[in-house]
Point group: C2
Chain length 394, copies 2
């Protein structure tokens, strides 16, 4: 298949592109380098050094003999988006190209608006490009388990059968997310479902859990194929961040009571889930939703596992929760769709911890401990004109 | 109370501002004149002539002895929005200031993106301005009954009690709207609910049905207090448009089988509902939803009523439905919240038809019949680069 990966220079976009390429697909990459720009803005860098897109594409050519097509531009530009889809003519588009940090979206008014505009407009433009160029292109869109929030009922895969006052319907699962970033994904899902209904597009919405890990079979082949590894409080996912805190001798920061339970998955399962979704497309007009995670953990459970793996001298610091979320709540989410299509999950294991800890130790000197602590507070105080400033970035 | 009406120069914003002023409130108006700009773009005008905002504000001063404060600017500008809220210091903000036409949002990629950006960013900026200036300001936001779509279960007022796998929760009512415009309102509702939860804001979401009528007690006082009256296929609401078609000897255009059932209300009830919502504010942290309509009609039922009132020589033309929607469907929507707070509905009556027909006859010469027929098709064919062009506007 011909597969276009939007956001192909990012933490997950890059290893996904390699995995799809290694699986025999022809792969194109689209990126605006927005993610590298956030590093500059926040004064952060990937713990594991990454090379430029040009260099890593050349490295993959040397490692695999395969060329990845690249398209540099911004999806919020509709002409760029249309022309890229027209030029590459994909069978499937994998869409990672969104601002993906909840804290980043909560910095202030400007970051909230940027996040929603960047994500919603980019996705609208992708939908129009598909409808215009070839409505049979399968859209595989990355969503987030965080879109659901923490309802007191079981979380189903995107849709819910309801009986109410004696009548029954299958409705979109009601979501109640906890940040302007997660809201942008909810907006996307509604827009995509409408495009499937109105234009007959075929889409798969992957509501992904929190990803951990840094290596895949493909990125391990050469150091210059490495993907980024974020450990800062804005872009670092919880397990990755705690592993780096552990090797730096910094307390593991647990927000609130740490009873927040979340679906999580190994980066190797992310790339495999996307491959499976591409190779088993949604039907025309179908808005298909998978919950893409493999195990549920509480945040304090994760901290305990990291301490167990890293050694008893690791401290755990319970800090005031900077977010507005329930610390303790019911959580049970369905996630059988991808397993039924063949996913064989990597479960969180000692081996994974050994490998992650080894990576973190190897690059420990790159870590800036000042980036560990949460700097963005959801309930911010008031602020200068036109900007609800929750944090001073950089 | 001090009440700031956003979109105070529009079809409903203007009569609402007058009604609130006549009810003893101190009223400020915000407008960017975007609605007058759409007229220019579409080559359409209000059937009933309207004067400039400056002139109508002066007319109201002469008629009532009361001055309305005016703020001209765009809510997508966060500094303008913040400074306006800070300058007027309202107790309540009534938010009509959105692009409100479903067909307009479906013209092409540019109109879809404009609609979602204008509406979502404007509302985000209003939320930030409230949170920053005074979180106790009550936001009264105009939504649409069209956000719900046509589910096979009863439509409740914004929230739904669900029992699923033996557990129960109160969730946001799952919505499945039928245009990028209606989607923008769904996005707004999710963002507002989050702001209530995260920042303790108080908000009332008024999911309004289709409004008919042109006069209120206040706008009748002088001709230069008239509000606009749209009859074109893009901005004209169904009953208003059909009345103008009838007096022009044009067939009443019914889309599809005309079995689409919708909640509707008299413009005099719109202004009264908003007054009631303002005078009975939501609690801090509460996201309160009312379904703001008084009666349910099918589109072919409306056409039959217009023919009955206007005379038997009026033809009814069933045209291909340009929208993607169910022509025949279950429809039952709850709408008791505003009645419990004191709303006394004006039901659709012969008197109303007599008055509307008289208005339409008086201004018949202003009508351009070329604007009656639907020009925007939801399932558009493909288009030039970067623009899914469904209609040639102007």
């Amino acid at each position: 298949m011909r597969i276009l990966v939007l956001g192909g220079d990012g933490y997950l976009g890059w290893p996904t592109a390699l995995h799809l390429s290694a699986s025999g697909h022809e792969v194109g990459l689209v990126d605006s380098f927005a993610r590298r720009g956030y590093d500059t803005e926040l004064g952060a860098t990937s713990l594991v050094p990454i090379v430029s897109l040009e260099e890593r594409v050349e490295a993959w050519r040397q490692a695999s003999g395969t060329r990845l097509a690249t398209y540099i531009g911004d999806l919020t530009d509709p002409v760029f988006t249309h022309r890229t889809v027209e030029a590459f003519r994909p069978d499937a588009i994998v869409h990672f190209a969104e601002q993906r940090s909840a804290p980043y979206s909560m910095i202030d008014q400007a970051h909230a608006v940027y996040t929603q505009m960047n994500n919603v407009v980019g996705t609208l433009n992708v939908l129009y490009a598909i409808a215009d160029v070839d409505p049979s292109i399968h859209l595989v869109k990355l969503g987030s388990m965080g879109e659901y929030g923490t309802p007191n009922i079981d979380i189903e895969e995107g849709w819910l059968e309801i009986t109410h006052n004696g009548r029954t319907d299958r409705v979109l699962y009601p979501k109640r997310p906890g940040s302007f970033y997660h809201l942008s994904k909810v907006h996307d899902s509604h827009n995509i479902e409408f495009a499937c209904r109105a234009w007959g597009l075929a889409a798969t919405d992957l509501n992904q859990g929190i990803v951990y890990g840094q290596e895949t079979e493909e990125t391990r082949r050469r150091p210059d194929l490495a993907t980024r590894f974020d450990y800062d409080a804005v872009f670092g996912t919880v397990l990755n961040r705690m592993v780096v805190q552990a090797v730096c001798g910094h307390p593991l920061t647990v927000y609130g009571s740490g009873g927040q339970t979340r679906g999580m998955l190994d980066i190797r399962d992310t790339v495999e889930c996307v491959r499976i979704a591409c190779e088993h497309p949604a039907r025309p007009g179908e808005f298909r939703v998978f919950n893409q995670f493999t195990e549920e953990f509480s945040v304090r459970g994760i901290a305990a596992l990291v301490r167990e793996a890293a050694g008893d001298d690791v401290a755990i610091a319970m800090v005031d929760n900077p977010r507005v979320e329930a610390d303790e709540h019911y959580y049970h989410a369905e996630h059988s769709g991808l397993v039924e299509l063949g996913l064989e999950p990597h479960l969180l294991s000692d081996t994974l911890f050994d490998s992650l800890l080894a990576i973190a130790r190897r690059h420990r000197d790159n870590a800036d401990p000042s980036l560990f602590d949460p700097s963005v507070r959801w309930r911010a105080t008031s602020s200068p004109v036109g900007s609800r400033q929750s944090v001073l970035v950089a």
